[in-house]
Each structure stands twice: as C-alpha cells, then as structure tokens.
Symmetry: C2
Subunit: 387 residues, 2 copies
DNA sequence: ACCGACCAAGAAACCGGTTTCATCGGTAGC
DNA sequence: GCTACCGATGAAACCGGTTTCTTGGTCGGT
C-alpha cells in the first residue's frame, strides 16, 4: 500500500510535494492532509480543474475517514444522512470528500445496502419510433431521481426475454419496466412477485394498476369512426404484426366501428401486414391489383400510413381528395407528411415518464397511480369528406 | 438468520419438509442438503416450473457450495472456469446450480472482480431519430457480449454531462460511449485517461481511432454538389443548431461546393435554423416572404427536409418539379416521403454497433479498429434536373 | 453528588462474490 | 522407499460500502 505509507511518512512536512496516492500521482498540499489542521488550502487534483474533479475513481470511504479522522461508519452516516453526526465531524467529512473529489462506489453500496438504484428496462423494439419514444420517456422520467435505467433487449423472442430478465435480476435491479414484448404472462407474473414491475405499451390481465397502456380498441374504433363520419364506407385496413396484441386490438376497434355503422365487413378490404412502411406500400399495391374499391385506409401505424401514402402517390391517387388515410401513433414525422397525417395520437413519451415515476414509487412503497392516458384522434389533412 | 439455523436444526432429519431459506418458503428435500449425501432427488422450487426457475434472487454461491459439498472457491472456479476442477466436483456444482436455479449476483461480482460488465452510454438526444439509431446500434452491438449498457442523459448541457459521467464512473462502468453532445473535450480527455472511451457522432481532435464519426463536411459537400450537378445555381441552405459541430461542418461542405462550382455565395440563401421540422417550415416561409429566388434546398437533416417539403406543398410549389430538396441522415421515413427524399445516408445503426464492438475490444485490450464508415448520397426523387 | 437515560461514534459483522495462499494427497524421480 | 514436486481444494483476505452492536461520555433528575 504505497499511498498510505507515503502519506504517513510525509505527514508533518507541510510542503507541497508530489504524492503517490493509490498509484496515482497527485500534486497536493500535504498540510491539509494533517489530521487536525484547520488551514483551508484548496487541493487541486492532477490535471483536474477545481470543482470538476473526475479522477475520483480510486478514493474510498476509508480514505475519507482517515483524512477526516473519523470512522468509516461516520462517513457513511454523513453521506446518507442516516443518523445524527456532530456538526464539526460532518464538516470535516464534507471537506475531505470535496478535497479528494470522492465519488461513492455504487457497486459496493448496492451490495451492502441491497438496493442498486438501477432499473431494468426490457425492450424489444429499439428502432421503432413508438417504442423509442417510450424509452425516451423512461429515461427522462428517471432523470435526477438517483435511479439509472439499464437496458436489455428481448428482441421479440420469448426465451431471450426471459433470459434478459434473469440477467437483469442478477444485476440486482430494484425494479423492472417491460416495454411491450412477447414475454409470457406467467413469467411476468412470477417476476412481479419478487420485483416491482411495470409494463408499458401492453395490456396484461390481472395487472391493472401496473400496466401503462392505452386503449387500442378504442383507438382503432375512433380512427375508423372518423372516416365513417366523413362519409366513407369502403374502408380498407392494413393490419399490424399478426399476433401483436396492439395490432389485434386496433383491428377489433375497426370491426366494431364498421359494425356499429351497419357496414358489412368485406374481407377484401383487410390486408395482413406488419408495422413497416413497406407493408403500407404492399397493401395498397395489393388492393389495387386485386381491383378492390376503397376510399379510405386505416393504417396499423404511421409508418404503414407513410408507405401507403407513397404507394398512392405513385399511382397518381391523391390524398385526401381521392383516398383518405388515418394513421396510428402520431410519431413526430406524421404532422409533416404531405398532407399532414390524421392519426391516433399516443402519448408515448408521457407513458414512459409515467411508468418510471410509478415504478419508483412502487419501489419506495409509496402510494402511486398510473395516469389514465388515452389515445385521441389528431385531425389533420389526410382525410376528406366523401359524398 | 432464520434460514441458516433452520437448515442446521433439521440437518439430519432427511425428510421432505417445508423449509424457510433466506425468508422464502420452499419445499425441498433436506436429504440433499446434507453435506455428503449422494442421493439425487431433484428439487423443485416453489411455484416455479422446472427449467425456468426465476426466483434465483436469494440463492448465493454459499448455498451452492453447501449443497455440492465443496467450498465457495470451487464454485467460483466452476462458474468462471478459472482453474481446473475435478470433473466430479464440477458436475456436483453444476447440478446444484441447476437445481437451485442459481443466478450469480453481478453486483457482488463487480465489487470483488473489479469489473462491472457494464458500459455507460452518455447520450444527449434521446428522441432524435439519428441519435436513437446510434443508441439502437449500441444496444444491439452489445447483445450477447455479457456487457449491458446503462444510459445517462446529458441533456445537451455541459455541466449535466460531466455530472452524468461522474455518476457512471461511480457505478464502476468498464467503459464509456459518448454519443454526440456538448461535454468539453478537456473533460473527455481526462475521462479517457482512466476509462476506455469511444465517442460516436462527434469529431474530437486527438481522438483518432476512438472517434466513430462520418465526414460531415464531405456530406454537406456532396449534397450540394449533387444539386449543382443537376444544374441548380440558387441553392438555399437551412443550417442546423448554431454551435453544433455537425451543423457547422455540413455548412462548410455547402460553402466549399458552391465555391468550387464558381457560384457566388448569397447570404439571402442561408437560413439559420435548428434540426427540427419546424425550422424547415420557417425557412421556406422566410425565403418566400423575403422574395428570395431559389430552385433547391439543402436541409440540415431529414426532419428539416420534411418541414421544408411541407411548406413548399402548402405554397403549391411542387417537389421536385419546381424545387429540389436534399436531406441529411437518411432516417427511416426519408424513403417514404412524397416524393422519396434524396439524402445523405448516415449509417447510424452501424456506427453504434461498431462503437460498442470497438469499446469492448478496447476494454479487453485487444487490437481493434473502427471501420471507416462514410456518408453517401442516396439518390431518390426529390431532386430534378434544372435547365 | 450519584445514577440512569440517551446519544454520538467506533469496531466489527455483513453483503456475495474473487483471488491469494497454504495445505494435503498423490505421484514421479532417484 | 523416501523426498521433492505438483495440482486440486479449502480457508481466509479482500472489494467498498452499510448497519448493528457496543461503548464512552454527557445530561438531567433527585
């Protein structure tokens, strides 16, 4: 332990000398290292402008304790404000921490304290605007709370998802946010028993209060209803990923709206796609190739709407004059489509924020409630009246 | 310590009894808990179907050691394959781990081993398609490497960025990826000294080999050159965020291309915007309000291009017949703009992947090299020939 | 002035791993 | 047949904190 002995050896010199602390060369004023010396020389760490010390990597609570002539326990108490400490000692500790640029080792802290201040986020869809927005919300909701999000990718695979959760648990996360995904409900149920968990963007039966999602059936209904209200009767729908619950529910909403309006459901108008723009293109091409007559399209999401809109453009079919489109999600680009896309707005960022806030309260055992966020129609210019 | 004493107390009973281990009620066969008992009853954890044990939360290496009648050290050696272990013992350990559904506590592991298997990602721009794509790349590049990304948001604020880095260091990250951002180079330099660091989407002098970025000057140049090649002379440019280096460099490229073509630079054609679609709208409005004549637009990025395209549409100016547009980034929506947007493609996802792969090699002290990714023009349909 | 209550603070145990070091049994070499 | 060596293994130290338990000192009450 070269650092320690070095400190001791030079202890009473009182001169500024190069000092080897924990293998790092620092220039410091040893006077301030003397135990009870009240002088207030400020110490500058090597290469570090004052107030920005960042090479705290190696300084431990033990170093602080020695420098402030107190025990580790007392330093810990000061840091966590966990019990009363005499003002004088507190001051000494604070000073020592400042001077050494101490940054607590949160790994050690996690191990000892049992809480990691880390929240696992299981996501499947990095790259999709909607899920990205949720993630963004989660990150910003966690800002300045002391918690950090750690991401794992379940890549739309049930096994991988479970594996990722196990890894996250191994990392001793304090809570888990599951964003969408395929992980089986039984697995999630068993996770929930031992870990505060919130699910976003997916509806799980029995999870009321821990499930941040919007009513996709209602969304699908409103999208369709809007077109019906504008006089459309031949409304095509481009469905999302086959077994994706959002896709299924939106389609349900579509069916219900059609039915409520007394329109007969025509299978020719239904295209099984996914959530990609390419699906939108292919859907329109297919519709036209099959000679299906339609005056409006309900798209599984905005990306699909973009694709559909382009395909229509290619055929010289004007939007909204010749064909109307309604999207779903209201991603950032939607209002800058030409024409701006009428779509179902999902408050994705807010959902993420709400989820992380709720989760933290759940962890802290505080009362919380998930806001009742809902999807609503943003009427823009991609729908026209049909007479 | 109810669990331990309970185990001790019942140690020689040899019957299946409910057992309180570490506060969790399990039904298990105590025979197998006896130190040298060779019986092979399989144990099923409460409520957990075999093969999917997920309540590993509380099982420690000590439990495995006892069950396999070996020492903690041996278990550790088996787990890490760090030194030779007799096949028989290895088997016993493996079996015990499987039966108990053991998942190592990576917090403890980090503390003891000095490596956290965690990589910090400092990002500023969650919500921007370009930076999201980079993050996505980082996440997928880290998949199955054993490393997990932990995100911190520097929210475009230098101080916050430094603070976030400190926090990340406190979490004992093994490496750091800085995505864009405003953090001062001096700070990054000092971070780099003690932590493997890679910067993505930003050029830093002196960081050759640790800096994953594309040549924005060249990108700006090519965008402009393309328009010039197509006969345009009055080329407007919508600049990005004032002090953003990407924005500055793209603008430089524009100037250079203009100059190389012998076109005089007209300040009226330069609009100081940011990277938002709204800026695109405002730029076009301003250009037209000021009566500035132009036949083409170079946009700071695709979002700006979308905005500009919409504003032109509103004025009845056709794209590309009346005005051409070139974007920058090639975000997913670009090829579904109407018309599909000609833009400078940035391999954002690949950049993220490359960055995380390089970082991991850097951590492992393996040789690595960052691929020389470059931005290239994707010619689509938003530019037409000007005669 | 004496005694009990109380409080601040230090010593030590603990969190769950990894790693060093010492030991022990076995084998090879002479 | 005895010793030197080797390799597997366990005991114990360690990582850097938190928390419990204990102690020594102060304060108030009688």
């Amino acid at each position: 332990m070269p650092g320690k002995s070095n400190v001791k050896a030079c202890h009473e010199t009182g001169y500024i000398v190069p000092l080897l602390v924990k293998g790092v060369l620092r220039f410091t004023n040893l006077v301030t290292m003397t135990d009870r010396n009240p002088l207030k020389y400020s110490v500058r760490l090597e290469g570090t402008p004052p107030g920005k010390a960042m090479d705290s990597s190696q300084i431990t609570i033990q170093d602080i304790a020695e420098r402030a002539s107190v025990s580790k326990a007392t330093v810990s108490r000061v840091i966590n404000n966990s019990s009363k400490v005499l003002p004088a000692k507190r001051k000494a500790v604070t000073k020592a921490m400042r001077e050494l640029g101490y940054e607590p080792n949160s790994v050690a802290r996690s191990l000892a304290g049992g809480k990691s201040m880390t929240i696992g986020v299981l996501t499947q869809n990095f790259g999709s605007p909607y899920y990205d927005a949720i993630s963004q919300g989660i990150i910003s909701g966690m800002k300045a709370t002391g918690y950090s999000p750690i991401f794992a990718d379940g890549r739309w695979d049930q096994e991988a998802g479970v594996g990722s959760i196990r890894t996250l648990i191994g990392r001793r996360i304090d809570g888990l946010i599951v964003v969408g995904g395929e992980v089986a409900i039984e697995d999630l149920n068993s996770v929930r028993e031992k870990l505060p968990t919130i699910v976003v963007g997916r509806e799980l039966v029995g999870w009321e209060g821990q499930c941040m999602h919007i009513d996709n059936v209602k969304g699908g209904y409103e999208a369709t209803k809007h077109l019906i209200d504008f006089g459309h009767r031949r409304i095509a729908i481009i469905r999302g990923i086959q077994n994706h619950s959002d896709a299924i529910q939106r389609f349900e909403g579509y069916l219900k709206a059609i039915e409520d309006a007394g329109i007969e459901c025509d299978n020719d108008l239904i295209y099984q796609g996914d959530f990609s723009a390419q699906a939108g293109v292919m859907a329109v091409n297919s519709l036209i190739a099959r000679g299906v007559h339609f005056s409006a399209i309900v798209a599984a999401n905005d990306m699909v709407a973009f694709g559909a809109r382009l395909a229509l453009h290619r055929r010289g079919i004007r939007v909204p004059e010749d064909a109307s489109i309604v999207g779903f999600d209201d991603q950032a680009e939607a209002q800058f489509m030409t024409p701006p896309l009428t779509t179902i707005h999902q408050p994705a960022v807010e959902m993420g924020v709400a989820a992380s806030e709720a989760l933290i309260k759940l962890i802290l055992d505080e009362p919380y409630e998930l806001p009742q966020l809902s999807a609503d129609l943003r009427q823009r210019e991609s729908v026209s009246r049909k007479y």
